[in-house]
């Protein structure tokens, strides 16, 4: 058993130009360059990507599911942010 396992990295792939990077999975690696290579060899074997990001998993700051209500629900009642909130009479176009 190794004294301590290689750190975990999260892998993000841009599948083609014009699209955002999307989370694909994770790999273990001893250093950043190895993480990038491991991500390439693991997650792009079938030409899945044109660009890769890797980031140490312990560097990700995430929201807490226990606070989901406080965090996200206040956005729910601001329906005036959505275009469907507004009534447009028939006959008015290009709006």
């Amino acid at each position: 058993m190794s004294k301590q396992e290689w750190p975990l990295y999260e892998v993000f792939i841009r599948t083609k130009s014009g699209l955002s990077h999307r989370h694909a999975g994770s790999v273990h690696a001893a250093d950043d360059q190895m993480a990038l290579d491991n991500a390439r060899d693991t997650y792009t074997r079938r030409r899945e990507g044109v660009s890769l990001w890797v980031v140490r998993s312990d560097s990700i700051v995430a929201s807490d599911p226990a606070e989901t209500a406080a965090f996200f629900e206040p956005a729910e009642d601001k329906i005036y942010r959505h275009p469907t909130f507004y009534e447009i009479p028939d006959g008015v176009e290009n709006l």
Binding site: M1, S2, K3, Q4, E5, W6, L8, E10, H23, G25, S26, V27, H28, A30, D31, M34, T42, R45, R46, S57, D58, I60, A62, D64, P65, A66
Partner: protein
């Protein structure tokens, strides 16, 4: 897939007592087909069941590299060699995706691998059988991957998000595995008499172990009911086994080789094949460690792990030196 770092919060939560209300709320989310994500509250038993199942699945992929890897250097054509290597590599990849999914539940890969090597964790009984001829590579692809797919496709809808997402990727990649196996069998069955005999011998040896892959009968399966309620499992062992027999018998007929079961017959009224009794003693023996290759498989994995230790440590030492240089 979320991380070990993030799971610290999960550990504190687990110390909170599981009240009936919490369990009911959790079950309501499952019943509403909501996905459970890594940091969400979950009953400890749900978490443990998932770790057990996902890691068993991962270990099966990793140990499964060995029986097929056994023929890499002897594959009979360059095309077959490349296909077989791509398949064995996929198994390594699938093991990796699955270990990652298990890691989101707050266990490390080192712990999981440690449990495999100590014999505490199990892997699929099928990989304790030997691949004795090239036809076995066909039979493993056709039968073993065929049975695995039956099990895996429903798992793409499993209630635990990271596992379901890993399984989507696995199923997508595995779609060629069964076909290449069937193609090997078909080529052999259309070949010389010796080749056809090789194919028959492989079917005869792999048929029953393949049926055992679905696990004990529903009446004997200790984890089934709870896993169904949690939507970790979507179909029972016997349902999946029946489906496998129905489709595979037809394929064997097409190949012109016979399934080694004198009780096998098509039942007009149910529209299904009835089949003979599985040798459950053999199944229990193999699970308990007494299959033809159990010892060999674990020894090989242990040796690879031990032989690689100095390499893993060197990479870490180098990374630490570089980090120290960068900080200075």
């Amino acid at each position: 897939m979320y991380t070990q770092g993030l799971d610290q919060a999960g550990k504190e939560q687990r110390e909170v007592a599981e009240t009936a209300d919490m369990l009911a709320a959790f079950q309501a989310r499952i019943d509403a087909e909501e996905k459970i994500e890594a940091k969400d509250w979950m009953p400890e038993a749900y978490r443990r069941t998932l770790i057990r199942q996902i890691s068993q699945h991962a270990h099966s992929e990793i140990i499964g590299m060995q029986p097929e890897g056994n023929w890499l250097t002897r594959a009979p054509s360059l095309k077959r060699k490349a296909i077989l290597l791509a398949k064995v590599q996929d198994e390594a990849g699938h093991g990796l995706y699955l270990y990652s999914a298990a890691e989101t539940l707050g266990v490390s890969r080192d712990q999981l691998v440690g449990d495999l090597l100590s014999g505490k964790a199990k892997y699929s009984s099928i990989f304790n059988y030997p691949t004795l001829s090239w036809a076995d590579i066909g039979a493993v692809g056709w039968l073993v991957d065929g049975a695995a797919i039956m099990n895996q496709i429903p798992l793409c809808r499993c209630s635990y998000g990271p596992y379901a997402r890993a399984m989507v990727r696995v199923c997508k990649e595995e779609s060629f595995h069964q076909r290449q196996g069937f193609e090997i069998m078909l080529t052999l069955c259309r070949g010389t008499d010796e080749q056809k005999a090789m194919a028959q011998d492989a079917l005869s040896r792999w048929w029953w172990p393949s049926l055992m892959m679905f696990g004990p009968n529903d009446s004997e399966s200790k984890h089934s009911a709870q896993s169904m309620a949690w939507k970790i499992k979507r179909f029972t062992n016997d349902e999946l086994r029946q489906k496998f027999v129905d489709v595979t018998v037809q394929q064997a007929e097409y190949l012109g080789i016979s399934v080694p079961d004198k009780d096998l017959r098509f039942d007009e009224s149910s529209g299904h094949h009835t089949f003979g009794e599985i040798d459950w003693q053999e199944f229990m023996d193999v699970i308990a460690g007494n299959g033809p290759c159990n010892k060999q498989r674990l020894e090989k994995r242990q040796a690879a792990h031990d032989d690689g230790a100095w390499v893993r440590e060197a990479a870490q030492a180098y990374a630490s030196k570089q980090a120290a240089l960068a900080a200075a």
